[in-house]
Symmetry: C2
Subunit: 402 residues, 2 copies
């Protein structure tokens, strides 16, 4: 058989690791804190049915929606993004600088097509989103970790590593970071934008959680401080409308958007139109403000239930983050406890049946870094189920410490 | 600014060429024979509205459709593909060997991720689909042309070039080929499957037009003759339900599908679910047979109008193909006539306003090969408009020959 490209070897290894980290998620009896899904109760099923009923007609937009569309994406959706999602965050964009993509991850993929040759360096937070690492691995990038603390990526370490490694890109998830739930401080946002300009390096700002904040003060994106076009902002509708729709977007300067459209066109022509029009209409019809309130209320309650339960049931002395928004908290267990092993037990023991994501895959350092960590998502389960699951998991962890 | 990857240079050049070849298509006063769209009259707007009305409910499949879905694609759609689209063509597949993708072109993209390193050889028909060439260019493949005649790719030349170039892949559009409208003979289908096995090379069979045949006898796909798993079959719903939905699929052996799922997951997680469920339900509800008859009746009439008009209005002695299905006929004008120049005139002259695709971009040979050719699509215009457009275009061509 024709030989596979070299990149598939790296990919296969990382795909297998990821499958192990996520464990079994589709067992309905499992309480899963694994995936990054929002609450089912927040998926606007009825509104979407109503929208499709109105637009999918011969007199309406039916023929347009079922025909080939523009590579950049539906005009009205790009205008909604500019007006309703970017302008309120201090980002003044033109709709022609927005590219609609098939889910948020496609931004990481397209940026690799534009920039990454095998061996090129991408600086990433330590830890960072495991699926983005998979994408970077597919392009045989050399991902080098940058220290994080409670305020997000450490800018001194970032600057030192930019100088040392001459990276093609800095990948940063500034708000309610995946997996840690941490938020990059305002000062650091400004500084990272400046570092991009100063060292002539692309900052890829992946910000899908920013629109679901439950406490604390809203912070402008890095892109708002970018004076030179070095920052590329990626976002998605997966956490505010629906992940299954696979609608995301990128905002970047003319040249990057033009090249990215060429790469998008050569990948899958353009993004499916019906989900684009649904997302646009949802905003145009004014449904978003009330929906947004529901999103925040539901997830705030779930976050609080999870944090309170961790504090109650997990051993004293563990570390956990307090996320002001998004879907994740990050737990550091005592050294010596291995969360990949724990996951096997917690998912296979019929008395426990709790899933989470083991921490190791979020680190590029290897050598067992993060093997005592876990990502817990509070999006998919109601508070009562969260309490039960965390109690069971806490009991298991406590039993290991005896 | 960070330097772009080398592939973007090649891409930019080919993207600019393509923009020139396709000319202005969005002018509503233009009679466009350019794009590969099916008749608007065949887009099942009402049926799709009805389907969404039924499935997008809290009690129905609303939550499932709006949540994250499986990388391989919705189970019911994969079963429809196996039962309704592959089995009747002599291909007995398992639903777990089907990967649903975001439009047919994504198959070419994914196959490149699996196999192509810069400089690797892909053998292609001469001429072949210009957008697949763009995808192959993005991966810096070396595309080498194989001769075609009225029966499609010439298998003697193919075998010689397999021996000479040791290609990673053979890319073939066997049925109502894009751009020529030609169909690969049954004998050659068998032979190509055998060559894949004999020389251990992947055959990528791209067959999106096969389901719209208006005359002649149906032929089994190359994949039906593949005994060793060397053939990968790609197809799409763009020509039978709707191009704007961006739903396609790949059928391949276990190992290829597994690797392709990893690459798909690292590109855009999975394909949007609502369009998948729409395509599946359209078949499950039994709408396809009647719809298929309409598709064939409408396009047969348009094909006949175009062929008759070409024979009536184009100069004697030009060559044109007679497609038994699909959307395209291919016209060879006398040597010396340049269709890229002709396109500029036919689209800018307010008395003509007819668009088509100039032939040069479908060839990888360079040196002006195909510069006297044009691809004419009969999908998008009703017969009367086809006759007017072809008459105008014929008059323009005749005026050049005086």
């Amino acid at each position: 058989m024709s030989e596979y490209a070299r990149r598939m070897k790296t990919m296969e290894e990382s795909a297998n690791i990821i499958k192990g980290l996520f464990g079994t998620m589709n067992d309905p009896g499992m309480i899963s804190f694994g995936g990054g899904a929002i609450a089912k109760e927040c998926l606007p099923v009825d509104k979407i049915r109503e929208i499709v009923n109105d637009v999918m007609t011969a007199e309406g937009r039916g023929y347009e929606i079922l025909s080939y569309g523009p590579v950049l994406g539906a005009r009205d959706l790009r205008e909604v993004i500019v007006k309703d999602l970017l302008a309120p965050k201090g980002v003044n964009a033109d709709a022609d600088n927005i590219l609609v993509i098939t889910g948020g991850l496609e931004a990481m993929y397209l940026m690799c097509q534009l920039y990454i040759e095998p061996g090129d360096v991408i600086l990433v937070e330590s830890p960072t989103f495991v699926h983005s690492l998979e994408t970077f691995n597919m392009f045989e990038a050399n991902c080098i970790p940058v220290h994080m603390d409670e305020d997000g990526m450490c800018v001194d370490d970032l600057e030192a590593k930019i100088i040392q490694h001459n990276p093609k890109m800095v990948y940063v998830i500034p708000t309610f970071q995946n997996p840690t739930g941490r938020t990059l401080s305002l000062e650091r946002r400004k500084k990272i934008a400046e570092l991009g300009s100063k060292y002539n390096v692309i900052i890829l700002e992946d910000d899908p959680y920013r629109d679901i904040r439950y406490s604390g003060e809203d912070l402008m994106p890095i892109k708002a401080f970018d004076k030179t076009g070095h920052t590329v902002l990626a976002n998605s509708f997966s956490k505010i409308i629906s992940p299954g729709s696979r609608i995301g977007y990128v905002y970047a300067n003319d040249d990057i958007i033009s090249k990215m459209s060429d790469a998008k066109s050569a990948t899958n022509s353009h993004t499916s139109l019906l989900p684009q029009v649904i997302c646009a209409e949802f905003f145009i019809r004014g449904y978003y403000p009330e929906h947004h309130k529901l999103l925040c209320d539901v997830h705030r309650e779930r976050r609080d239930a999870m944090i309170e339960s961790i504090d109650k049931y997990f051993p004293k002395g563990i570390k956990r983050t307090f996320p002001d928004g998004g879907l994740f908290t990050w737990v550091e267990l005592p050294e010596g406890l291995n969360t990949s092993e724990l996951l096997k037990e917690s998912t296979s023991n019929p008395e426990i049946k709790v899933a989470f994501v083991a921490g190791e895959g979020f680190f590029t350092e290897g050598n067992g870094k993060g093997s005592n960590c876990m990502r817990l998502s509070f999006g998919a389960n109601p508070p009562e189920r969260i309490r039960i699951g965390i109690e069971r998991l806490g009991n298991l962890i406590n039993s290991k410490l005896k």
